[in-house]
């Protein structure tokens, strides 16, 4: 049921509109006609500032919210009329790591696997623990995890059952630089294995680092959509200037703390 039904894009969003009614105020038009497509096996970044409506788009795609107008298909299934098939095809990693703090890391993964009705939930959990470097922490309650570990567990939970599409809503907001690099690495890995990734972010650098294609959501509409090179061409050609390159504070921070290399559970990148 989760196999691609046609060769059409993994995600197709057409004319999406959504308003929120606020008592005694003008309704808030969050989405005013959003269109975009995501090809299979690519990373698509929805870029926008706080309150631009990124989470609203993700929630509509995840069958958690109904749009006022427009159509969304995921993996060829309509989010309204074929919601059950859409849920089989996707995994949502929400804005705040939606992990159960009272359960252990392993129990969280077993829970996710059993809710996808998978056999051998324990084995699946163990594999994901290994892949996300959470084996040592597997038996500890999630309440004791760091922000980065929670996020990794959160993403691992989304990968149980290998859904063809995964939605990551601001996956690195609130994370420290090292954790952010860990999450980026995880996202790249997911995409390399053929999963379609849609992520929302307010960080330009994140979109630049990860995305095959970037769409900018602004005032309820997609105002730009293309590859990084496409977007660069929208602007005047680059001038060549010579400037002394100062290290950024982030580069200094990572150099001092060792770019994650010293952390027992983190592999070095580059």
């Amino acid at each position: 049921m989760t196999m691609p039904t046609t060769s059409e894009p993994a995600i197709r969003v057409r004319g999406l509109e959504k308003s929120y009614r606020i008592p005694k105020q003008e309704p808030l038009h969050v989405l005013r006609g959003v269109d975009f497509e995501v090809s299979r096996g690519t990373i698509f970044a929805l870029l926008g500032s706080n309150g631009a409506g990124k989470t609203t788009v993700v929630n509509i795609m995840s069958t958690l919210l109904k749009a006022d107008a427009g159509a969304v298909t995921v993996n060829g299934f309509d989010v309204v009329t074929q919601a059950a098939q859409v849920r089989e095809s996707i995994s949502l990693t929400g804005q705040f790591a939606a992990v159960d703090e009272i359960l252990t890391g392993r129990e969280n993964l077993v829970l996710a696997a059993r809710l996808r009705h998978l056999k051998e939930a324990g084995k699946i959990a163990d594999k994901l623990l290994e892949r996300f470097q959470l084996i040592e922490a597997a038996g500890r309650r999630v309440a004791t995890y760091s922000g980065g570990m929670r996020r990794r567990l959160d993403i691992a939970m989304s990968l149980t059952g290998n859904p063809p599409a995964i939605f990551l809503d601001e996956p690195t907001t609130g994370l420290d630089p090292q954790s952010r690099i860990e999450v980026w690495r995880a996202v790249k890995e997911i995409a390399q294995l053929g999963t379609t990734v849609l992520l929302t972010t307010q960080y330009l650098e994140e979109a630049e680092q990860l995305a095959d294609r970037i769409a900018i959501l602004h005032q309820g509409r997609i105002i730009a959509d293309g590859t990084l090179d496409d977007l660069k061409q929208l602007f005047p050609p680059a001038k060549v200037e010579y400037v002394e390159k100062q290290p950024t504070l982030e580069e200094i921070f990572l150099a001092i703390v060792g770019d994650g290399r010293t952390g027992s559970s983190v592999r070095a990148e580059r």
Binding site: S62, T63, L64, K66, A97, A98, L111
Partner: protein
């Protein structure tokens, strides 16, 4: 009904029951207030209250009311657990999975019934230490358990409405204050005949009184009379109404 309903409910029930067993303080917190009231009424006010029972038997008289107060306190935690799930996004995660969506609520409802009953058992055990005695047979005890479970279910669905629609944790718990208070204006601690007219009229026609009287009669091995029908009718009516409103709220929450 979705083919995964029972499997999903079982999995999610396992999760919420772990929440209860790993923080048993909720069971104790729920039991402590009713136990404190029992102590207060037994050893402070009890001597001044005429129940027509022998001395020291007041604990027999008030236990049914205390049980209802325990239930009203217990379901507060259901609202809080539900609110927390909604707020932390774990609700969204579950609802975006290919599961039977109703199982998300039912797991909380069943956990509410089980954990509240454990608190009730703790309270009854303390009552036994304080001199509560009943010659009730197995059937009468089963009837008491049945009424208590039905009452817990009815109040739990009210808690579901509160938990789903709350904007803050405090708001999610506030619904239970009137429920905890209601037994005081009933036959729980004093006979309704001693109350002034309008208060008495209220006390005799609110749901707590027939439920309390039924349980009291069952414990005392006396005929339950029409109380039991009034009690069942109230419980079922509250259950049906609160379940319907909970479903409306749920659909609004999950689109």
């Amino acid at each position: 009904m979705n083919k995964h309903f029972f499997a999903d409910t079982t999995v999610l029930l396992g999760r919420t029951m772990r929440h209860v067993t790993r923080s048993p303080d909720t069971i104790i917190t729920v039991a402590i207030m009713p136990i404190a009231m029992m102590l207060l009424f037994r050893y402070v006010f009890g001597g001044a209250i005429e129940t027509g029972l022998g001395p020291g038997q007041y604990v027999n008289y008030m236990l049914p009311g205390i049980v209802l107060i325990t239930v009203a306190t217990g379901v507060t935690y259901t609202a809080l657990r539900l609110f927390t799930d909604k707020k932390t996004g774990i609700f969204g995660r579950f609802l975006s999975l290919p599961i039977a969506r109703a199982s998300v609520l039912w797991a909380h409802v069943l956990t509410s019934v089980v954990s509240t009953l454990i608190s009730v058992i703790v309270v009854v055990l303390v009552a036994l230490l304080m001199g509560f005695r009943s010659g009730a047979g197995v059937l009468a005890w089963l009837a008491v358990a049945g009424i208590t479970i039905l009452f817990t279910l009815a109040l739990t669905w009210i808690a579901v409405i509160a938990g789903l629609s709350a904007q803050t944790a405090e708001g999610g718990g506030a619904f239970s204050y009137p429920l905890v208070f209601l037994p005081f204006i009933s036959s729980a601690f004093v006979a309704t005949e001693t109350m002034p007219g309008p208060v008495r009229a209220f006390a005799e026609h609110q749901p707590m009184t027939p439920i309390i009287n039924s349980i009291r009669n069952l414990f005392a091995q006396e005929p339950v009379g029409n109380n039991i029908w009034a009690a069942l009718a109230w419980c079922l009516a509250i259950l049906v109404v609160s379940y319907s409103f909970a479903m409306v709220t749920y659909r609004k929450t999950v689109a």
